[in-house]
Symmetry: none
Subunit: 217 residues, 4 copies
DNA sequence: TATGAATGAGCTTTCATTCAT
DNA sequence: AATGAATGAAAGCTCATTCAT
């Protein structure tokens, strides 16, 4: 069975590991293979072959196959939502408050870029969440929970300014996320296609603004 | 309506295989285990144990482990999109043409119900699509393609009636699907939660109608 | 008398596991190989080859390699001291009390027979005790402790009858055991040699009686 | 006396190898680990870690893992019996002939001291003898054989003086050794306990003298 | 001389699949 | 039809040993 808690993933980061060339090659090969075939269908001998190293080298740094997964997903998970929530909110707190559409455009562009950059890790992460209920639960508790409260504050801010509809902020966030997902998901399944971030951002923002925006007379 | 036939069709296709009690038990156990742990992390001895049969019995009807997967997903895939498009078009051909919101409400309720009814199969299906590029390709070619053309026709119909915005029908379908996905996905990850279909349908329709509807003066 | 039941009990406890022919063959092969080469130097493929079965069969009943060890040593350990202490004491409690030499002769003959019968298990057990401090501790706590108190009572009985010297019973038991060990150990190292139990018993008793007996005038 | 030279000789033979600090550290770590866990359960990386050196250094002096074992046991084996027999005989040749009890007391004290000093090596040696039939054979041929003939001469000397019973000298040696073993063995299994050599010697001699001595009227 | 990354053979273990009963 | 013992290929992993730095 794979990683049991997201907590472990947060602990490690790749930079601290001081990897050799060959060990980085192991990670690169694993990223490709895990995302293409899934964690369980990738054998460590597959990884060694693709990475051009011996099987022993695969286990030198990453004590177990799961250790490779942690090394790949750890840094990724740290970026999934915190950026979306924390950093943006900090940014807004210190700058002139723009209108909601500007806010939305920034956050959508940022997250779509993140998706595109971390397509492979995301695919592995989703696979893992779907077959490891502990991971899902921990992820939701530790990551989503905190983000929601902060995002909620932002939504309420714009709701009070009468820029967006007075729905439950969670509902609004759901629409933003799922609309972005509508552009991101197909690219996960067919990874050779590349996401046109600018156009996608424009389209997402246009649709979301119609869906939740309030026209000022 | 399609909704009521889903379960029936699934049962039928299993009956066509002339399954004994024990073999049905194998399928039931596999459905649960595959969706909870994933196909690869479920062993045939797990299945046998949960199903309360011997390992030999598992192989009597379903020659391989993959055979069980096919028996589970086959009937499911045939229901994913075709019915949604096909049957609705048949419905429209035989009834008075309703407005877009009515159409939307029907299709959303139908698909959300389908999601809820086939949650487990859907989860397995997604897992499979993410780690089996062949399956993804096959699914897209055989299922999505045909549905798109038929749905496109419907969208154009309402666009010509000036009820919805003049965007690429594919884009509109993407929003409808992804908005529904926003309600369905959390239930996949936390399968104990139950989807409130009525409320979800209302919310989806409300949001989509704001996003793509055109208000008549 | 206990002696005759040892082999029987061993067979019984194996039967309780409901072992098939091949699984018994695995145990037989493991007993030989472990005692000849040691547990660590015996590979499970060795066992499979010698037992004439597949490697899978080795693991069907005994989930791990250590499981085989437990199956071999479990019944053995239960016989090491308890019988020597418990049953003999019960016997004495219910029969006419013989003199110490008769008592000694019985116990020596019994234990030497036990050694000879369980030579291989004993060798494995000693190997294990020497490289597994947990096992040593457990063995001493669970087995030796209880036996000592009961044997002590017997010694004191004969000391009060002035048949043996008034040393600490533990010291006396130590001499009895180590003298027997002097006959048993060489046979462990060279297992092809067979212990002449009658002669050995006579010699042990003769020496011990000189060493701790009290001549009555 | 032989006793005091044991440690010195061991140190000498290591110095002959011109060992550096780190290499001595390797031997020290190996001695501890081999005796605690057994040779097979000790990995060379364990040794390197405990010794505080790199794995490469472990192999600089001792070409193989077995080479470390030889370096540890070689000097030990040369001391096991030869000195006991040889040096004592030399001693007897040059001094007034003492009585048997004096002889016995010296030899017992000497060997118990040797046991205590070389507890760890002895434990490793026994482990090795039990899982390596070649080693047992070699040891018996090269070491025990020679010693027996010399010791036999001594026993016969005292038998002719009518100090000890007229048993086969091998039998007498067996009792002496096994009685000492009765004190030494428990300390092997629980290495934290320390053998009280003086008291043990007194007890051993007292028991042996009763067992094989002849009271002069 | 010392290091530790790298190796690869071989180990323990799992599991889909078969087949005699 | 049903069983479950048996199989053996392949998986994850360990570790003694080598060698470039």
């Amino acid at each position: 069975m794979a990683i049991n808690n997201v907590e472990a993933l947060f602990a490690e980061s790749l930079n601290e590991l001081e990897l050799t060339k060959k060990q980085k090659s192991v990670l690169r090969a694993s990223l490709t293979l895990f995302s293409e075939q899934g964690f369980d269908r990738t054998s460590t001998s597959d990884i060694a072959r693709v990475a051009g190293v011996s099987e022993g080298t695969v286990y030198k740094q990453f004590k177990t196959k799961e250790g490779i997964l942690k090394a790949l997903l750890g840094p990724f998970i740290q970026q999934v939502l915190p950026k979306a929530a924390g950093e943006f909110l900090d940014t807004f707190a210190n700058t002139n408050v723009p209108d909601f559409e500007t806010f939305l455009r920034r956050i959508v562009a940022d997250r779509l870029t993140f998706f595109e950059t971390n397509k492979l890790q995301l695919k592995i992460f989703i696979q893992e969440i779907l077959s490891n209920s502990d991971m899902a639960a921990t992820f939701i508790n530790k990551t989503v929970g905190g983000a929601i409260t902060r995002i909620t504050a932002v939504m309420k801010f714009y709701q009070q300014k009468n820029e967006i509809v007075d729905w439950d902020p969670v509902r609004i966030v759901r629409y933003i996320m799922s609309t972005m997902l509508g552009y991101a998901l197909p690219n996960l399944i067919q990874p050779d296609k590349k996401l046109n971030i600018e156009q996608s951002t424009d389209e997402v923002v246009e649709f979301i603004m119609r869906g939740i925006g309030i026209k000022k007379s």
